[in-house]
Symmetry: C2
Subunit: 350 residues, 2 copies
DNA sequence: ACAATTTATGCAATCGTTTGCAAAAGTCGA
DNA sequence: TCGACTTTTGCAAACGATTGCATAAATTGT
């Protein structure tokens, strides 16, 4: 260290070859200034003289220097990373690969990238890990958290929301809740679905999906209220979201009930698709024998046979909304929840 | 600070209420030991006396203490985070939400979580940001990198692979390449698709998809070689992957060519699905008038009408393979690429 | 040419953990 | 009871960047 040019075969500017320039201190030494100056120059602060800045920038470029973000994060107490938690509670086998979550995640990635944030993804299984949310928040690795889906963790999320501000959750809004949530009015969506089914002549309804998850429960309730108002019975066909189980369970439901119902409200488009395939296999005509309405309006809803009538959630708007709210909360603002109006998209399945 | 019990309304153990215990030093003070000891105790190192460890653990629990991961990362020079880069090069409008990538990402999340790693997701647009890969690697925020899709960045990835070990890429394998890649034998998959189409009687083939992306090019080449061997002509119908464009482009292709072809090899299942929907709309019978083969075998391939014959990539195995290879490279091992054999799944569309 | 400013830079503390080394405390046999 | 060990702990130096404060340099006015 004390004899710079002695050990190495000593090509004049050979530093480029074997990148010893990993830290601000290295760069400072080469540039003949202090680390403070280098830091300021690279940060684009105005206090550095033009010449010096240019020289430092050139050297940084030439030696391929990059700031160590971890050190920077530690010192600045901010990371530029938003945590995304996907709790897999109500259905442990549900894959992260669930189409709706993945679509939402894609848009979140777009929105956050646009604002200069990175995403840290964490898949959590709440019943194995009581402490998941606090661990994520307390790690210091994220500036804020987006939770995708309340799963069965409503209570815990509520509790944390009382003391941690920068958190926005995708899910269902309940009267008087504390945490900031973005989502569709699932109740209303459920109503729209049931109304359509009944308007199309259905008189014996079924709800296809697991009504213990908060969001699905609201969809169910909405549909049920309409069914009740029309004196139409509605049964529940509980179904897991894990792709491997789903098909079998739907098949079994159809075995038992296909003859006794003439309208199905599926809790998600994926369920509706599986259901359509199952009905087609049994030569049951859709919508003539059984009407089917889905929920989400994923891109593939347009491509089913017959094309799926479904309740549209604007996932992109939701994702951008979540990011917007989170950034405002990070800035200290108090924000309301964002409840979006779902919209019935009529195609041919009902 | 010098008079612990004076200022506050002084409930004996009131520290619990207003969490002042944020750092090891805080905890050390309360426990009456040094930070070093606390650190060791919480890390589960054997050098700490049982009693002391228990006491410290109890206090940590009681005050809801959590290690600051950022500081820990800095000191240990490892973060426990794997970076996932999704380059959107050959088709800038392609959403991160592309079904195949999302499925792969889901499995990667499963595999990495299982191994105790977090995921940091970064969506990159290479032509806007020359330096994307080096920036990601050099940030110090990730221990290794998985790249999902080579896009049109083959050269850059090759270059980086020469000096950065912990990187595994999903994509196509080319003769003599340096970077460690996991993917299917796309050429073989293409052959299988074409063979099936021809065996089912197709004599005028079309390849549906954009053959400039590396992986698709290999699928095309494989199919073409079989077509040539059978003296069967094959045209190319280039199509973007952006969901909004895709449908229109496929429709326009069908307008122009539907009458002139009797077998379609779609570069992805999604394309195949859109294609099926388009053909159904035109009353063209599948597979009688036109046979269709897809690629990927996404879960929804089973649910199309008619169910899709497709070339299966075992995405789950691929994801777990990528993670396995990456961890071995992190451990210093030298690893070969993993080229998986695709498998034709015969359903009803061809 | 000199004092009064305004700019640019350097110094050193700080962010919160981890860990090598040394000192303190505990254990044991004789 | 004392020396020779073995466990436990404390001390303080890293990890690499940022930033308030102080000093050095450049600029300005007179």
């Amino acid at each position: 260290m004390s004899e710079p040019d002695t050990d190495r075969p000593a090509a004049p500017d050979a530093a480029t070859a074997d990148r010893p320039v990993r830290t601000l201190a290295d760069l400072a030494r080469i540039a003949g200034v202090s680390t403070g100056t280098v830091s300021r120059a690279l940060a684009g602060k105005s206090v550095v003289k033009g010449d010096t800045r240019k020289k430092i920038e050139a050297l940084a470029q030439q030696h391929g220097f990059r700031l160590n973000q971890v050190a920077s994060n530690l010192r600045r107490q901010r990371t530029g990373v938003i945590g995304i938690a996907i709790p897999l509670g109500h259905d442990r086998r549900q894959q992260v690969s669930d189409a709706f979550f993945m679509t939402l995640l894609g848009y979140l990635a777009d929105a956050l990238t646009e604002k200069g944030y990175d995403l840290m993804l964490r898949r959590v299984i709440p019943d194995r890990d009581e402490d998941w949310l606090d661990r994520f928040i307390g790690s210091g690795m994220v500036d804020g958290v987006l939770v995708i889906g309340q799963s069965d963790q409503f209570a815990r999320i509520e509790e944390v929301a009382g003391r941690y501000r920068p958190m926005v959750v995708w899910g269902n809004h309940q009267e008087g809740q504390r945490h900031c949530v973005v989502g569709s009015d699932n109740r209303l969506g459920g109503k729209q679905a049931a109304e359509r089914l009944i308007a199309q002549g259905a008189r014996r309804l079924a709800f296809l999906g697991d009504p213990t998850a908060t969001e699905f429960a609201a969809r169910y309730t909405g549909a049920k209220s309409v069914a009740d108002a029309h004196d139409v019975p509605m049964i529940t066909l509980p179904t897991h979201l894990a792709p491997d189980r789903m098909a079998k369970e739907v098949a079994s439901h159809m075995d038992q009930h296909a003859g006794a119902i003439d309208g199905i409200f599926a809790a998600t488009d994926i369920l509706a698709m599986v259901c359509l395939a199952e009905l087609a296999g049994r030569q049951i005509a859709v919508p003539d024998d059984i009407r089917v309405v889905g929920f989400d309006d994923l891109p593939l809803a347009e491509q089913t046979a017959p094309p799926l009538t479904t309740v549209r959630q604007d996932i992109r708007a939701g994702a951008f909304g979540m990011v917007d709210l989170l950034l405002r909360r990070l800035a200290g603002e108090e924000t309301e929840s964002l409840v979006m109006q779902p919209e019935l998209v009529v195609r041919q399945s009902a």
